[in-house]
Amino acid sequence: MNWRMMWATNVRVLQQLKGDPRSIGLIVVVPSVLLAVVYWLYQNETLPPGVPRTFDRVGLMMLAIFPFVVMFLVTSITMLRERTSGTLERLLSTPIHKGDLLFGYALAFSLMAALQSVVATGVAYWVFGMDIRGNAGWVVLVAVVNSVLGVALGLLCSAFATTEFQAVQFMPVVVIPQILLCGLFVARDQMNSVLEAISNVLPLTYSVDALQQIAGHAKATGTMGTDLVVVACFVVAGLLLASLTLRRRTA
């Protein structure tokens, strides 16, 4: 690892984003708009006293899912461009270490994700009065870890796509099953055993579980810590596998 090269890569990716204000706008604004939609969707539900609103549950999970999906897409397309434009081959003929490149990417996109989730979490709290027991800071942390997960999986998947069209098609393959099985639609203990077993090996399941811990407990719990460590392991595994797909010598 070389910090200067990693930092240069981070700065370069952010400069590329800076030149594209529309993307920044979409990254920052869209989650809040969708949160508003969810809020109004459940506006008229009638609840027995003491039962939390559906928005508090679904909205909270969406705070973790947005950065995951967005960063997955942004990363896989950016990395694919890097591969097809020849800049990757050129970079790999310089002294840069693969880790510098991957962590530079991960750092730049997690900064964007932090910005996105601070805005979305702020909107959820102050505009829609989201009511959870735990600290909002933990929610932002989970969101950022999730975005890095999206980056890692995006970097990996870009190796299996040869066109941007294919890269986008990886979303239904990689992202949607995780959203279906993470516990957002049906609690995991109510799924059949096959689906539950699958959900046990999907990383998003653990981020959603971490959020449920935050929602239910005023203090950080050990389970939440374990969940975050599991997600972090998926991130490291994803980045390691992605680094294997970066070859300095090709046929």
């Binding site: 200067r4 090269m5 240069a8 890569t9 700065v11 370069r12 400069q15 590329q16 030149g19 594209d20 434009s85 020849g86 800049t87 081959e89 050129r90 970079l91 790999l92 003929s93 310089t94 002294p95 840069i96 300095r248 010598r249 090709t250 046929a251």
Partner: protein, 298 residues
């Protein structure tokens, strides 16, 4: 294709009629194959073989390139120029043979600071401005902002520092790619068709700049399919259908071809070569034709 067993020095073995010529084209000091290894040589290639799928992309290529010279790599499209350059840079998987660059195997990590590579399709970030592109690649070699500015000025783009690379014209975009290699101040610079799609004035400027770099001690290997550019080189590697036809100087090529027209001389050399092989002599001589205004692969 008939099998040829040995070919340490390319020209003579393939083309018996002109053995001395190829040897004379080589730089002094590299003449005797026995002379102490690679002293003075930037590149030494022995029996390089590259297969891709079932096709031979390079067949038994051997040559040496002395330091501080401009070597032109010339041949028709599809003759293996890019593959050869990629093998020298160390990004090409090779089937067999040896490629030594500055005394190390091509692609050795220790070479990454010293070897620059400008790909045929300009490989820079379209959504970054000119200076940011050059600074980023410079950062990989620990170069400063001042170095980046110098490299941009060297390719004549100092008026476009803040312009997005993607908004530049084709020729300017090409030169951003070149600046990204120059900023590293490599000892050895490989350029794959750097002048494709450039106007004559710019081409002349670039060749003048290459000459200046060579005078400063940089070794340059420049591929082109435009034979008239061969005149700018100190030495030529002529590639044809995956084989090295000859290594010689432009003057030597003119003499052997019996004409001052380098393109015609190359054609005659090919025909002579095919005459020596059992194959049909003139069948596809026109395949070696080098349409001048051909746009590059983008």
């Amino acid at each position: 294709m008939s099998h040829r067993a040995e070919m340490p020095v390319p020209g003579p073995a393939v083309h018996p009629p002109v053995p001395a010529a190829a040897a004379r084209g080589r730089a002094p000091g590299t003449l005797s194959a026995a002379s102490a290894d690679t002293v003075g040589d930037s590149v030494a290639v022995e029996h390089l073989l590259v297969h891709r799928g079932k096709a031979d992309v390079l067949q038994d290529i051997s040559f040496r390139i002395p330091a501080g010279r401009i070597t032109g790599l010339l041949g028709p499209s599809g003759s293996g120029k890019t593959t050869l350059i990629r093998a020298l840079v160390g990004v090409q998987r090779i089937t067999s043979g040896q490629v030594q660059v500055l005394g190390l195997p091509a692609g050795d990590p220790a070479l990454r600071h010293d070897v620059g590579y400008v790909t045929q399709a300009p490989s820079v970030y379209r959504d970054l401005n000119v200076l940011d592109n050059v600074r980023y690649f410079g950062a990989m070699h620990g170069r400063s902002r001042a170095d980046a500015l110098e490299a941009v000025a060297a390719v004549g783009l100092d008026g476009f520092l803040r312009r997005r690379a993607g908004d530049l014209s084709g020729g300017q975009f090409n030169r951003v790619s070149l600046a990204c290699a120059l900023v590293a101040k490599p000892k050895l610079l490989f350029l794959d068709e750097p002048t494709v799609g450039l106007d004559p004035v710019l081409r002349a400027d670039l060749w003048a700049q290459f000459a200046q770099m060579a005078a400063g001690g940089t070794t340059l290997v420049i591929s082109s399919h435009v034979m008239e550019e061969a005149g700018h080189c100190d030495s030529l590697l002529l590639l044809r259908e995956a084989r090295l036809l000859a290594q010689l100087t432009p003057a030597e090529l003119r003499r052997r071809g019996g004409t001052d027209d380098l393109e015609l001389a190359f054609l005659r050399l090919i025909q002579a070569g095919e005459g020596n092989q059992a194959g049909p002599a003139l069948a596809d001589a026109d395949a070696a034709g080098t349409p001048k205004g051909r746009g590059g692969k983008r």
